[in-house]
């Protein structure tokens, strides 16, 4: 199955918990320094690499978006009845769409929907809230697709998922990480 989530603070914590309880999730992430680390040469040269070394040490089972074996790795995991985690609010993909989101137009990648269409793996929404003092994981009903749709019809599949993410953010605005990231994904 493909577990879809947003960039919420408790996401990694939830995945750590699930892994320790016998449900390892392979995550897809992009390896780009975020805004906080781009403040000066010190940030780029020392802070960002140290941060990624730290992540590599504590986060298991991640595959980078830039990895050329990403597709086959995802397919392999899904065929083994494994679980893959992809962010709804990721914008990195060869196919992306402008979608109304939080009163603006934001770029969303449609890759996870395409993978679900091709592999027939169910999409399961996962909302992770809280912090290391206490957290909760809420799963939504699985969504299954039959076949690949055109780019025009694709929006009908993507929109409800973006709407779901939006409702999570509006209910728990302080827990969404991407407020603080650069808004390259927003339409000017």
């Amino acid at each position: 199955m493909i577990v879809i989530s947003g960039h919420f603070n408790a996401n990694r914590l939830a995945k750590y918990y699930l892994r320790r309880n016998g449900y390892p999730l392979m995550s897809v992430r992009t390896r780009k320094p975020n805004a906080m680390m781009l403040t000066g040469r010190f940030g780029v040269r020392y802070v960002a690499p140290a941060y990624y070394r730290f992540l590599d040490a504590i986060v298991e089972d991640e595959i980078q978006l830039q990895d050329r074996n990403l597709g086959v790795s995802l397919l392999r995991r899904l065929r083994d009845n494994g679980i893959v985690n992809i962010y709804i609010d990721s914008s990195a993909s060869s196919e992306w769409f402008w979608v109304p989101f939080l009163n603006q137009e934001r770029r969303f990648a449609g890759g996870f929907v395409r993978i679900a269409e091709l592999t027939r793996a169910p999409l399961v929404p996962m909302q992770c809230l809280g912090n290391s003092s206490g957290f909760e994981i809420n799963f939504g009903a699985p969504i299954r697709y039959t076949g690949k749709v055109s780019s025009e019809d694709f929006m009908e599949r993507l929109m409800p998922l973006v709407g779901q993410l939006e409702s999570w953010i509006l209910a728990h605005p302080t827990q969404w990480e991407l407020w603080t990231r650069p808004n390259k994904r927003l339409k000017k």
Partner: protein, 101 residues
Amino acid sequence: MGTMDTPKQTTEKVNSLAGIREAILDTMARRLHFEDQTIEQFRLNGRLDEVMAADSILVIELVLMLEDHFDIRFDPEHIDAELICDLDRLTAFISKAQSGS
């Protein structure tokens, strides 16, 4: 909402490597709607990633399509992006898979 699934192709048992190679290219053209020019470039230089961006979605789509078309199964241990992007390796792999060895 209509789907874009093409009608399932009949499984072809192609014996020669050249025949498999042509069947791969033909299947990609018909089912993934690759342009003639792209197919021709892939035929000539044998590297998909030099002809177009072979992203993860395309790789998954190619694997599933080739499995369906040739009635084979890509062993998870043996598939990687390099195999999918290299026409000669892919042809040899399918030939071996079809012969069941």
